[in-house]
Amino acid sequence: MTRLLIALTLVLAAPFAQATVRVFTCEPEWEALARELGGDRVEVYAATTAQQDPHRIQARPSLIAQLRQADLLVCTGADLEAGWLPVLLRQARNPTVQPGQPGHFLAADSVRLLEVPTTLDRAEGDVHPQGNPHIQVDPRRIATVAAALGRRLAEIDAANAAVFGARTDDFLKRWRAAIARWERQAASLRGKRFVVQHAEWVYLFDWLGIQTAGAIEPKPGLPPAAGHLAALKAQLASRRADGIVRSPLGDPKAVEWLAAETGLPVIELPQTVGATADAGSLFALFDAILGRLSDGRR
């Protein structure tokens, strides 16, 4: 009889037990953000690692299985995942996370994008017609996304709305203090000019007042043409840059070539949380970025 009563109590208490929101994130930066804002009230799965290019992925069974069970999808949007997310959403057949539902959260919808093509002329079009999607390297935009994500979590799991609200406020307080600290640290970087390997640092440079001195591989996946490299080299000879910036994902050969030709230092920056050993969290990511830029470290 006692056992029956205990079992009954447990069964009746189950709905009041602490439920978690299952979050499916496309990239490691949103995984880190979801954990910051959700704490133990979320279970987070990341579709890609920091060592993978989010433009394309290899289809694994867990991607479909995890998305099928998800309550909330958090991705960058702006066509960054256009190569695989639509088919994955279709295969998962989870109505909660389809576009238009509260369970479908795209970070790019909350922020102003840069490099949006202004003309409809196809000759001006580039790889990302909605604008540059690599917003995760600007902490001001991360703050905007965090506020929106915190509200969305509260909307999805109203029972824990107070928890999400408190955690979001706490995160934003610490984050804004960190931004002030980083801006003081980066004051000497203002006005500097760096060559980039790919067009993924636009938002970072916009924040820090850095100028792009040229791009080595403007089209990912296609090796740069000889004419383009020659023009870049000539350009750098007439107006010097302060270095070449790359992420661990890019092919080092093109960068090493330009460094040898111009004598410019190569600076490797983590493009997301976990890309390098010293970028283990969102805070550490920008500590690492600013530290490496300031040192001119490889």
Partner: protein, 243 residues
């Protein structure tokens, strides 16, 4: 991670549909010694698709038509080469593959779009296949098989190259180039020694084992299926000595 049939099930059925036409065609490929033909034809189909895109034509049926047209043209060109210079056939096939792959890159280099997603147009990923695509592929497979069985004695090599181009253009979009090659060649090696039925069995077991491993260990499905086909074909092929 357990085996979720709703995820790998459609992938397995896709594999069976691909095997249906590819095992008999593969046997012919081995007999003729033109093993890398499918790589060349698949790459030509990709070139055709890219060319259609560059003409600013976005309609799906036009892309398919472009891919098929390029594959058929290339296949028949190679058939002509086989009749005139049979000794150089393998070299010509290999050359067709690398030249058309390079052409794709040259075409895309000039395009403002960069073709980031076009590289994957004919890559194919096994887990993304829908039931509609499977139904269409099954119809194509059945058509190829029926035409092959009824007309091959009369039309011979020309029919072979044509049907081959159709079969590969359809399957490469479902499973990707490497898995098409594996499905074509590996079970056919078994079939050459032990007959068509055992070849089909080896193919089916290969897909099943590969997909099971990919589900259990959460690995990419396509490459796992390739390895599964290799293991199964080795097991079935060397099990009994040829008499």
């Amino acid at each position: 991670m357990n085996i979720d049939l709703s995820i790998v099930g459609p992938a397995f059925v896709t594999g069976l549909v691909v095997l249906a036409s590819h095992v008999p065609l593969g046997r012919r490929v081995l007999e003729r010694g033109i093993v890398f033909l499918d790589l060349a034809v698949a790459q030509l189909a990709a070139t055709g698709a890219v060319a259609v895109h560059l003409l600013d034509i976005e309609k799906e049926w036009a892309v398919q038509l472009g891919a098929l047209a390029a594959a058929l043209l290339g296949a028949f060109a190679l058939y002509g080469c086989e009749r005139r210079w049979p000794r150089f056939q393998e070299a010509l096939i290999g050359a067709t593959f690398v030249v058309s792959a390079s052409l794709v890159m040259l075409l895309l280099a000039g395009s403002p779009h960069g073709g980031e997603h076009l590289q994957d147009v004919l890559a194919g990923q096994l887990l993304w296949v829908t039931w509609e695509q499977i139904a269409l592929a099954a119809a194509a497979s059945a058509g190829v098989l029926i035409l092959w069985r009824t007309l091959r004695d009369r039309l011979g090599a020309g029919l072979f190259y044509g049907l081959f181009a159709v079969a590969v253009t359809v399957s490469v979009q479902l499973v990707g180039v490497y898995l098409v090659f594996a499905s074509l060649i590996l079970p056919a090696l078994v079939a050459t020694r032990r007959g068509l039925a055992v070849g089909y069995l080896a193919g089916a077991v290969g897909y099943a084992v590969g997909l099971a491993v990919s589900a259990l260990l959460d690995l990419p499905a396509g490459p796992s299926a390739v390895c599964g086909l290799a293991v199964a074909s080795a097991a079935f092929g060397v099990g009994v000595r040829a008499r």
